[in-house]
Symmetry: none
Subunit: 182 residues, 4 copies
DNA sequence: TATGAATGAGTCTTCATTCAT
DNA sequence: GATGAATGAAGACTCATTCAT
């Protein structure tokens, strides 16, 4: 009777979505079939039916997060292309990102998990590599890497400090980083 | 006859040390009494005898890591005081840090764990706050925060990339960040 | 092929039955998952699958015992309604009860457990309250309470003495208790 | 320096006293060396040093409780000897007893424990037998047993009901029980 | 195809008891 | 004589995974 509920693709998506909601709350390591099934409001069996194992589920969810990130990068690209001032636009984009704490937490979990699960490293690199590629359209590659690292540092700081760096400061620092030495 | 075995302080230290070895391998969430006991080569009961709970053990180990970090900061302070050129000295220190992958992994685990375990946030802040305080002796506070964030970003990048940023690039970026705009 | 094993209701009942068998042997506090699972001839996991916790299991078993007691009271009611002489009939019923040592032990365990587990008190009151209600159909309420207390005292004595009170004595005492003072 | 603390007899007594305090709170089965040692404010080792095993400790504590009960019976004997009216005096004594909930709980624990630990049965019988002996000085033996059972029933009821039987009712019932049928 | 009952391995934790000091 | 460090057995409980239906 409930077509949507019975749609396999939809089921998978709900489960992944539930996992993504839970990761910021309990960490990747805190995921359990039961927790995910309850959050997704699907039967317990569904989580093992649609995914080979819990690891598979976690990996799929993190891949989905990476895909979302790729989308985010595309919108950054668009903004940078049309924005008037590179550092200021970047600072604004970063400030927007800071508003999505859960996205940052997922990413941080991914970094940590990649530390002891090598198969996650390519996934963990996606954001940073994509960001570097994007920036490399404006500055040289080494500088792009440095700026990407700086941005990651800013996000990391925001996670554990009550007050993030002020956008103005960020913009200034970005400008300094990206301006070729006189 | 068995003096070593009867040395409580030594026992505690061995257990903490084992936990610190394991965190980079399995993550904070991957710690188990059994794993720690086996690594420390102490009976299973010892891990619960010396620590109220596994959480207590993990927290104690992370606190010990923070203490090591504080020591590291003191040696950075010394190096900066005597070093000729601030950015170059910092770049060297960072490069040294990059050699201690396990220390970086522990720190990263701490960041991630702090994301869903608020009681760890003060601990997670220690490195970043200490670094900021140190830098604030040389530049204004906002800049110090930005530089600290940058350094954390560099370390993070090194964790997931095969090749870290070149010290020369780092030194250049630091100089740019720390030089007051003309 | 294994129909019986797949019958959840049956499983639950077996586990509860096992607990009820064990309580007289080891006490409520002596119940363990392992003990119950072995007695019920079910896998260890079944005891935690069907009951939230060991406390839940014990509570459920005691509730089942209370239900049996309620049935017992209904048959007492029937017997008293049709019996010729109230005290003599009661004495006979009590004497019958004395033959079921395990039921008495369970009830005694419940009383003791209720002493330090307040959530069991309502359950512990069921027998005594039901009995009082029943008797209140024949004598005034205060007397009914006194008689109910007397009956409980008789049962208690039987538990620790080799030889219970003689039914004749019991009948005489009941008659004395229930006869309005001249 | 602290002579009392170092006095072995005193130590034993403190431990037993602690156990007696704890039994109403956690039950006989809930006793642990640690709990008792903490309550008695003695080192953990003392509880195993002065008692062969935890069972021994519990048994000794219950024996001490029985001894207290024997004392209680002596004062009942004295009261009954000098009191004007037997049922009324007994009712008063019972009412006093009801005020000492912890003593009732200990006794109830003893009854329950005796159910599955036969070695405790003689101890459990002490109160009831002593009471019967005492009453046998005033009424025939069978009646004495019945009255003793009634009194135990009253105490039991008080444990699980908020409101005990009224002393007046108790006195009336006792009078009825103890008056030879006309 | 989909489910949820079922299981047993593995987790943290408690604790009686031992024993070196 | 006394203590408290130490240990390993055992307990409650969780959960990934399997599989009958």
């Amino acid at each position: 009777m409930n077509g949507a509920r019975r749609n396999p693709e939809e089921r998978r998506r709900r489960i992944i979505q539930a996992a993504l909601e839970l990761i910021p709350e309990v960490g990747v390591g805190g995921l359990t079939h039961r927790l995910v099934a309850a959050r997704a409001d699907v039967p317990l069996g569904a989580t093992t039916y649609y995914f080979t194992s819990l690891d598979d589920l976690a990996h799929t969810a993190l891949t989905a997060a990476a895909e979302l990130t790729a989308e985010g990068l595309r919108s950054w690209a668009e903004a940078l292309r049309t924005g008037p001032d590179l550092p200021a636009t970047l600072a604004t984009l970063i400030d927007d990102y800071l508003g999505d704490r859960s996205r940052m937490l997922i990413w941080n979990e991914l970094y940590a998990a990649a530390g002891h699960r090598p198969e996650l490293r390519p996934l963990a690199r996606e954001w940073s590599d994509g960001l570097t590629r994007l920036l490399a359209g404006y500055v040289d590659h080494q500088t792009a890497r440095a700026v990407a690292a700086f941005i990651d540092g800013i996000l990391l700081h925001a996670l554990i400090h009550d007050r993030p760096l002020a956008p103005g400061t960020v913009a200034g620092s970005l400008a300094a980083l990206m301006t070729p030495p006189r």
